[in-house]
């Protein structure tokens, strides 16, 4: 069975797609996050059709097939050397293992294709649901809120949509232009940098947009006159000063790991870890917790990578973006 695609009637002209990061996410796991968004939107929450992208099933297929983690030693080495100047060995190992779990699927072209197809299938269904609700694609206001590895899949899927006419989802040719794409704790630059360091090891490299292009850019398509039509009217990047997945190590930004798309609205939250333990040990524990693959994403405010905390800190802005 292919991963389930959600379909629903739209209450108005707006929809939100949530794209999670690492960790199994099943129906119902995001109820707390939805409740948080509904609280932020207030009475306007009823105007939105809410969707979730589920792709962990595919990750599980490939992990079970190939024994996940085999062959990532060179990735871990590459990451360790990059992070060495900003971290202790213990934290460097934790970051490397974290990034390894994020990066190994890149080495399997079929895994990348399967996840990307899942994403684009869901986007097509969202557009179809809007059409069935009497809202033409050009009038649809769809927002994507992505977290962690979900940002990487979003970036790749939107570039594929913008560059492949057969997907039926590009902004200039098919009039499918998103209202907002909000990246939270995006590892896109981290993945791009490390993957470029081992690019000969990446199959079908040309089909990996974050690696094949010289620099990262927000997806777009040009019209007949050569004008660039962006895939999203607004692109936002939110991360934290202690979130290494978003490119920060103890308050310092690492250019090689921080996603900085031209024209993105950037937000870096000041973060503090709680507790008496050394900061490195705490952060290491945080990263290991973020790798949890047998449970839903927990709402843990002390975790600098926590999705819910980013949403809470930017509640008013999110409300403004979604309702604009």
């Amino acid at each position: 069975m292919p991963p389930r695609v959600q379909s629903q009637r739209w209450p108005s002209d707006r929809a939100i797609l949530f794209v999670h990061g690492i960790g199994n996410a099943n129906v119902g796991d995001y109820n707390a996050l939805v409740a948080q968004i509904e609280q932020i939107l207030g009475a306007d929450a009823t105007r939105f059709a809410v969707y979730f992208l589920y792709y962990d099933e595919i990750n599980d297929w490939f992990a079970a097939k190939t024994s996940a983690g085999v062959g990532i030693q060179q990735l871990i080495g590459a990451i360790r050397s990059k992070s060495a100047s900003a971290t202790t060995p213990e934290l460097g190992n934790a970051i490397a293992e974290f990034a390894g779990d994020v990066l190994w699927p890149i080495l399997a072209a079929d895994a990348r294709t399967a996840i990307r197809d899942t994403y684009l299938n869901q986007l097509r269904q969202i557009v179809r649901d809007g059409e069935d609700s009497a809202v033409a694609p050009r009038n649809q206001r769809v927002s994507i809120i992505a977290h962690s590895l979900g940002c990487f899949h979003t970036y790749e899927a939107l570039w594929e949509a913008a560059t492949d006419a057969g997907q039926g989802l590009s902004p200039a040719r098919w009039g499918v232009q998103l209202e907002n794409v909000i990246y939270m704790a995006s590892p896109v630059q981290l993945i791009s940098t490390v993957a470029k360091g081992i690019d000969v090891a990446i199959p079908n490299r040309d089909r990996l947009h974050s690696v094949s292009a010289p620099t990262l850019e927000s997806p777009f398509e040009t019209n007949v006159a050569g004008k660039a039509i962006p895939s999203a009217r607004r692109t936002v990047s939110i991360t934290g000063s202690l979130d290494p997945v978003g490119g920060h190590f103890f308050g310092a930004r690492a250019a090689w790991a921080y996603m900085n798309l031209p024209a993105q609205e950037s937000y870096v939250d000041e973060q503090k870890l709680l507790g008496d333990q050394p900061q490195e040990a705490l952060l290491s524990a945080v990263l290991h917790a973020a790798l949890r693959d047998d449970g839903p994403p927990a709402i843990t405010p002390a975790n600098p990578h926590d999705w819910s905390a980013y949403v809470r800190r930017h509640g008013e802005q999110i409300r403004g973006w979604l309702l604009s």
């Binding site: 399997a108 294709t113 694609p137």
Partner: protein, 313 residues
């Protein structure tokens, strides 16, 4: 013109989705809309391109081609004669037209002009219902493209599940390495996003069973060690790997073949590839395989492809 526009405006959006639109519908409405907003003054290039395409497509008799047929050409990237003959069983010049490489480029240009250039001008000058009416046939094309692509992706997912899903054979560490390298080697690499039906096998089988053995030695069944080096292929046909237990045994989802090496000492957990090994060939059908060792003493063996120790053997 006013009566035409008014008649379209009262049609419901959902009814419009079920209507059959043609290239002529797209061209007529886009050109009418372009005239209404004086498109040639704001974007002369796109306006000229629209008129040129209209001339070309009408001159080639493409007016009657439906948006569904156009979408088929777009999604499949290159239509064969068999494809277009199926779309147009009467078989006339339309068949030849749909198969022309330039035709795909032309039909792709229409929505690019409509949505990428004309639509902003329309939306700036006309009320939304009028804009929607002008672009309804173009929207129909987009809808068909998305439907056909999703159907195609669903078929590809079925292949993914056959090869990688929960009931697919898992790979040991050596096979992971070989198949990782195979991503660059035809026929093991994927093609146009579709997974390859082939997979390399490099297995260690510690518990094979001898069925028959040449020579005067005792012919009792014994457990021996063997190694396999070969290729597995997956059956994409939906009838294979489906049905009851017997049906799945007769038509399994995968088969395999390759080189077989029997360890010199006929016992479990030996090293099959060392000196003194006896070589043969194996043929696998689903999770089971049979082998014939042609080095003397010749033997016939059977075994299972299931891993006894996950990711190892």
């Amino acid at each position: 013109m006013r009566q035409f526009v008014l008649a379209v405006l009262v049609a419901s959006p959902l009814a419009a989705q079920d209507a059959v639109y043609t290239i002529e519908d797209i061209l007529t409405r886009l050109q009418a809309g372009a005239t209404r907003v004086e498109f040639a003054r704001t974007d002369a290039t796109s306006a000229r391109m629209l008129d040129s395409l209209a001339l070309l497509l009408r001159a080639r008799g493409a007016g009657g081609i439906t948006t569904r047929q156009m979408a088929e050409v777009i999604v499949r990237r290159r239509a064969s004669f068999a494809d277009v003959a199926r779309w147009n069983p009467e078989g006339d010049s339309t068949t030849a037209l749909l198969a022309q490489p330039w035709f795909r480029d032309a039909v792709l240009m229409l929505p690019l002009i409509a949505n990428g250039s004309l639509q902003p001008e329309l939306s700036a000058r006309l009320p939304r219902p009028a804009v929607d009416s002008i672009l309804t046939p173009t929207d129909s094309l987009g809808r068909h493209v998305r439907e056909l692509t999703s159907a195609r992706v669903a078929e590809r997912f079925r292949h993914f599940e056959i090869k990688y899903g929960p009931s697919a054979p898992s790979l040991n560490a050596v096979e992971v390495g070989l198949n990782y390298l195979g991503q660059w080697i035809p026929p093991f690499r994927s093609s146009n996003g579709d997974p390859s039906r082939y997979e390399m096998i490099a297995s260690y089988r510690p518990l094979e069973l001898t069925l028959a053995r040449q020579g005067g030695a005792s012919a009792e069944t014994r457990a021996v060690t063997a190694g396999q080096l070969g290729v597995r292929w997956y059956h994409w046909n939906a009838r294979w790997g489906a049905g009851n237990v017997l049906a799945r045994m007769l038509r399994p989802r995968h088969a395999s073949a390759g080189l077989y090496a029997l360890a010199p000492v006929e016992k479990p957990l030996q090293k099959p590839w060392q000196n003194g090994r006896r070589l043969g060939a194996f043929l696998g059908w689903g999770d089971f395989h049979a082998a014939y060792v042609f080095d003397r003493p010749r033997s016939i063996l059977i075994g299972t492809s299931k891993h006894i120790l996950p990711y190892a053997f």
